[in-house]
Symmetry: C3
Amino acid sequence: MQRTQEMTSVQPDWENFYPRPVSDKVPFFNKDGRVYDCLFAQQFNRDLLTLLFRTADRLREVTQHKDGADYVSGLLSDKRAMLYFAQPSTRTFMSFLNACHVIGVKTSEIRDTSTSSEVKGETPEDTVRTFSSYVDMIIMRHPAPNFVEKTAWLMNRTGRPVPVVNGGSGKDQHPTQALLDVYTLYRSFNGDLDGRHVVMVGDLKRGRTVRSLSYLMKNYSGIRLSFVSPKEFRMEPDILEFLKRHGIPYEETEDFKGAMRTADAIYMTRIQDEHDKAGESKAVDYSPFYFKREHLKDIKENCIIMHPLPRRHEIDVAVDADPRAMYWRQERNGMWARAALIAYIFGVDGKIR
Amino acid sequence: MQRTQEMTSVQPDWENFYPRPVSDKVPFFNKDGRVYDCLFAQQFNRDLLTLLFRTADRLREVTQHKDGADYVSGLLSDKRAMLYFAQPSTRTFMSFLNACHVIGVKTSEIRDTSTSSEVKGETPEDTVRTFSSYVDMIIMRHPAPNFVEKTAWLMNRTGRPVPVVNGGSGKDQHPTQALLDVYTLYRSFNGDLDGRHVVMVGDLKRGRTVRSLSYLMKNYSGIRLSFVSPKEFRMEPDILEFLKRHGIPYEETEDFKGAMRTADAIYMTRIQDEHDKAGESKAVDYSPFYFKREHLKDIKENCIIMHPLPRRHEIDVAVDADPRAMYWRQERNGMWARAALIAYIFGVDGKIR
Amino acid sequence: MQRTQEMTSVQPDWENFYPRPVSDKVPFFNKDGRVYDCLFAQQFNRDLLTLLFRTADRLREVTQHKDGADYVSGLLSDKRAMLYFAQPSTRTFMSFLNACHVIGVKTSEIRDTSTSSEVKGETPEDTVRTFSSYVDMIIMRHPAPNFVEKTAWLMNRTGRPVPVVNGGSGKDQHPTQALLDVYTLYRSFNGDLDGRHVVMVGDLKRGRTVRSLSYLMKNYSGIRLSFVSPKEFRMEPDILEFLKRHGIPYEETEDFKGAMRTADAIYMTRIQDEHDKAGESKAVDYSPFYFKREHLKDIKENCIIMHPLPRRHEIDVAVDADPRAMYWRQERNGMWARAALIAYIFGVDGKIR
């Protein structure tokens, strides 16, 4: 209990803590100089990214043979994780779950919070603390933007903290998506991201993946960005400010065909109409921002096409068979990147590399 | 990617592929001379059945002791399966899940497709491909008759196919149910199915188990079949044609008491009123097709009573205690037969036998 | 099958069996002098409690290191349990699930009975028997008071019984909650429960935990009980009778502040308004039965504060940081106590201690 009281005295109240800038908050979620709670894409610097990517690369190599797979899945056989998904997302859920399988972490699932004790008048904080009692890690997705962070903050005040991994909170943070996106660039370019031209396309205003990706580009040098979108869904000013501050050149354009010619990576996104206030998405002609089969001849031979998925019509299904279509492998990269992250948090990444 | 293109060029389009007779399609779902995707009962020939049954027999023997169980559950410790059940069936689900446990395959579950990304406008094909990214096998149940087959077909066109096992598709195919039914006959008769009199009873028109079972009887010689049903629910002509073509004698009758006297196996079924169009089941007196306690004295000493379950009133609960009541063991046989099938598909069945 | 018939002839019909006093029924659920089906708190005598607590203590010790955790999780690697939770209770579910993870039992889950075959007209007895086919243990929670017991009774009549563990049945029995409550006392007092003053507070009329706890106090000597409740929710006469019969002194009072001064343990409960018939809970002022921050100075230095959780307002959140607040550890004790119980039922508890 001594520990609890110590932490309580060090950390400010939640109301004072939460509004601070992310950069101020990051140290509270580290432990012994390593990321402990993974909450923000901003927690990934270049060194950590490289470390995680090398771990992920090694994981997929080693697990190709049964001996290696058994070795890896024995590293964390004493650990239990809870996947608390208050917001449905089978895609992210499956990716994390199988990442746990790869490295041997046992899992329990909460995918429908309506069955939890919350119905009996318990506070969400108590509910989460309850479930944390039984496990060594919480992987959490929640619709409320602050809930995952608050859980981590709260856990750190208890006598028995467990690391919290953000599987998507509100519309702002989804750090492991950012991780897998950069990992896909890293793998496609054999680790050499510097000097690349990255083209982001679609609903840039409301897509959190393109925001995080833009942010993480500051870790690499000579990057050039093109933001291709209808004028209604342009990238938000805060990101543009950020890029200026870090000296990352960018252009905003509606000319997709022009931008794609020099692209090393084209990051497609779908229209995020679930965030519409009054059906505004319907008023926009999104078709100039589709990647069609005929575009394959217009892009560089080793340009990659990415998409966070799910897609609607942004990418023609006929494109899937092209070797440059990277989105399915991008999705699979998510499992490996997440496995690497979990291994890192539990401190066994060194045993994998 | 080379592989993808090769397969694409070899396989016809889905619209041309799907309507072909099953016998034409079977080779597309094989690999290296073995069943790769298990979709149709027609994929089981006598040799394969015997192989799977011997594997299943050996599995239950070996796992009786902890050393053997640990050996078996280590054989596929590097494999991950997804159970994608778009149609609720806890029975089949549990059977497959525990089969995976027996042979050490790690599992992830999709039991409610409403929580998947399908809601965001993704095609079902993309959804399935997404989930397949993380696993080495898909075990799938789906209400649409063609969906499981299409998934397998589609997977085989990608650069990363994984085997697909049909856990029930539409009202036609449920190959592992057929497998466990024949396995139950095999075990009950010590491997000697030839020359048996099999009596099928009930709603033969709409029950898919009796259809598959009839079909698989062609693998054994000297089989004699009796179809006992109300006239409204007689076996469909296509099966009767099939039997004639293969020289398997059958009779159609409403005289249950007469047929049961010489039976080696009585296969009871419930009325499938979920397929009613206008409550037609209510108009039928089904009670002459019940197996009652007093019938136990009328059947042969080593006749077995089977039922795919769930039952309603077709079999008196008082019959359960009789050694000839085989339906509970039949159910358990399902787990072993499925474990054997999965082991076979992953090529480790030889290490079990 | 011989075994089935033998058991059938020994056991009376359910209708005659069920109404008997628990003490009469207990032997039917034992095997070889040990508890086989764990259904009633009354099955725990002092010796068994001590055995389970020592096992639980050892489990948490051993699993602190990976070698120990791997040893323990290998003990039951050949066993499969089904968690059949017809009544939602994520808390108890998670506790049992992770208990299984600790000792290496593989699990399958039924958390929503609406997806089971019950919809096709199967009896609940058949449904349960079906699921039991695949597993070595059933852990069951059910809203009907007799369902779990009937399942155990029924399983014992089959040729393939599996042990049944009661995870909460109706409003009466929840033996593993009682187990963890006494375990919390045991740990907090270093195994010395004799002579303690235990104060139970709140809705004593309708809370099953305080009933079971009172009952189990007969296993210890010199216990003194205080029942602190609003007059509308006093402890039921049957428990008071039981205490008199066993010579356990108790007082009933509304004076919480008076009772807490000498308490060794304060067991808080919430108002059970889900059992209201006509909103009667609203008419009661429950606030005198809250444990507030300022009470911390009024209780003994080593008095512990317990709560079965979830809580509403009975305990001030500010109390959580006090070392005497035991409820979070109590919750975690549940996982260890349940793991010990399962290990005991499978007969490997000796290998842990």
